[in-house]
């Protein structure tokens, strides 16, 4: 081949290449592995590769008795562990046809909303860190620490609370609980505008987030995404509104479901910030009028569910968590299935990411708020 032809052949020849983002990568928040096909900086394909933290929780459930299942669900989506506990407890109560007292319902809802707040605070901090603003991490964690202290005092643990049990809650609330929650609301109402001041209005942040990772309403529905990701695409998906449970079913609580229609990373961000305000409103409405009542309905020593299938869904910080129990009348379920929000939300990632830059992928993953143990279980 002569020189000219060789030049011509090699001229401007670009090549796609593959990189592994993860399983050990700072932006994947755990052991998620993304097989990226990249052309320069432009993403051509995203293939999530799961299974690095698969612990077989669903299978483990088949060998545990129903009260024992609760502590496993803490370890799925560890940032909304109370919501997971609540979902299983509600499903078992539904099967046993136990009606828990209003006190239990109120406490569950308050703790659940606090969990949501704590989860969103952590998400806010970590998202800032993903975008390179490391300071937000510490501000988020400062406020989250207050909630964790409340949990520690009442539930005995800071993260994997293991608080809801079939038939009620494990302990009654601590005598400081109400006061501490009120103090927290006052504290956080003064700090949340700072979050906005630091990031929301910032021009760099807006440029990084607006128009990035757009998920249309149709795609959102077809991928089955839920929670803040769906709400940012204009899909009403709040289980607390659609199918109220716990205190939402008892009292008509006044709260809004933040809906944005852009479907980009920025609206997902805004949904979560709005949700923090709404969660505080919910807690404020409930915390002052926790009714008296039993904290635990009596159950048999060995809980056996009647034969049949039972399904319960709750709204965790990430979206809709479904708990499916298939019972054959024994003391452990025949089949247990969790419909986790993170898995469906992750499935929409490729649709969002193709054609955008590597830096955008980080912003998208940050706003999807992935918790890898929730995806893998």
């Amino acid at each position: 081949m002569d020189y000219e032809a060789q030049i011509k052949k090699n001229q401007f020849r670009t090549e796609e290449y593959k990189i592994n983002m993860g399983p050990q990568h700072p932006a994947t928040h755990g052991v998620l592995r993304l097989n990226l096909t990249i052309d320069g900086e432009i993403i051509k394909r995203v293939e999530p590769d799961l299974g690095y933290i698969h612990r077989g929780i669903e299978k483990m459930c088949e060998y545990d008795s129903y009260p024992q299942i609760i502590h496993l669900t803490d370890r799925m989506d560890y940032l909304s562990s109370h919501n997971n506990n609540e979902a299983v407890a509600l499903a078992i109560e539904k099967a046993l046809e136990i009606e828990v007292s209003d006190r239990v319902k109120y406490i569950r809802t308050i703790v659940g909303e606090l969990t949501r707040l704590a989860s969103h605070q952590l998400w806010w901090g970590v998202m800032g860190m993903d975008l390179g603003a490391l300071t937000s991490y510490f501000y988020g964690f400062r406020d989250r620490e207050v909630i964790n202290d409340i949990f520690e005092e009442t539930c005995g643990a800071r993260l994997t609370m293991n608080y809801s049990i079939p038939g009620g809650i494990r302990y009654d609330i601590h005598k400081n609980f109400v006061q501490r929650v009120k103090d927290f609301i006052v504290h956080f109402r003064s700090k949340l505008p700072e979050y906005d001041q630091l990031l929301t209005g910032n021009i760099i942040f807006e440029k990084r987030m607006k128009g990035v990772g757009i998920l249309s309403k149709e795609d959102a529905i077809s991928y089955g995404v839920s929670g803040p990701v769906a709400r940012a695409s204009g899909v009403k998906s709040d289980i607390r509104k659609i199918k109220p449970y716990s205190a939402f079913a008892v009292q008509d609580i006044d709260f809004k479901e933040p809906i944005y229609t852009e479907g980009d990373a920025y609206s997902r961000y805004k949904v979560r910030i709005d949700e923090m305000w709404e969660s505080m409103r919910i807690i404020e409405q409930l915390v002052d009028n926790i009714p008296e009542g039993n904290i635990k309905e009596p159950t048999k020593a060995v809980i056996k569910l009647p034969k049949g299938e039972f399904y319960q869904r709750v709204e965790t910080a990430r979206g809709e968590l479904g708990v499916y129990i298939n019972s054959d009348g024994k003391k452990s379920p025949y089949r247990m299935k969790f419909r986790s929000p993170g898995f469906s939300n992750l499935s929409a990632l490729e649709d969002m990411a193709v054609g955008s830059k590597l830096g955008d992928l980080v912003a998208m993953m940050a706003t999807l708020d992935l918790v890898v143990p929730d995806i893998d279980r």
Binding site: D64, S65, P67, Q68, I70, H71, L72, D74, R75, T135, R142, E145, D149, E152, E153, T154, C155, G156, A157, T160, N162, R170, Y171, H174, E194, Q197, L198, L199, G201, N202, I203, I204, E206
Partner: protein
């Protein structure tokens, strides 16, 4: 003119963010939230689930009858009870007595099942949180003290 207004807006928002960090930088002394850990001890709440402990009274007696309810309730097999039937000299009957109440802290998920299952309140939550050891085997603990026996008033 949108070109210049964009630049102006950009500067304004950047300074806005600057104000937050500046505020904390200036007030660093009173805003610091981190704890100087080994010197400053964190407040541990009395419900905190640190580890399972078995309280003994001054006569080196505990309340564990060796009924194994905790062992059955534990989802992870963290508790093993080595027991024996020992002849009680007063009644002349053989009675189930624990030899060793073994607790694997390394496997424990702090789920509270054992403590709720215990009919005599022999095991409770301890608030110890500094569990780091250099050898994994040190996390396997024997909860009953050597030479301890069950309290006389504890019913089976």
């Amino acid at each position: 003119m949108s070109y210049f207004s964009e630049i102006y807006r950009g500067f304004k928002t950047l300074i806005n963010g600057f104000r937050v960090t500046h505020k904390y930088f200036i007030n660093a002394r009173k805003e610091i939230v981190t704890v100087q850990y080994p010197e400053e001890r964190p407040v541990i709440f009395d419900r905190f689930k640190g580890e399972v402990i078995m309280p003994h009274d001054e006569n080196n007696e505990h309340a564990c009858t060796g009924c194994q309810a905790c062992e059955i309730a534990c989802p992870n097999g963290s508790i093993e009870i080595i027991w024996d039937r020992v002849l009680n000299e007063e009644t002349g009957k053989k009675k189930k007595t624990i030899d060793k109440h073994i607790y694997h802290l390394s496997m424990c998920t702090m789920c509270s099942q054992c403590i709720e299952a215990c009919p005599t309140g022999a095991i409770i939550w301890g608030q110890e949180f500094e569990h780091s050891v250099t050898d994994r085997s040190e996390l396997t603990k024997v909860l009953n003290n050597p030479g301890s026996k069950v309290r006389a008033d504890v019913e089976d």
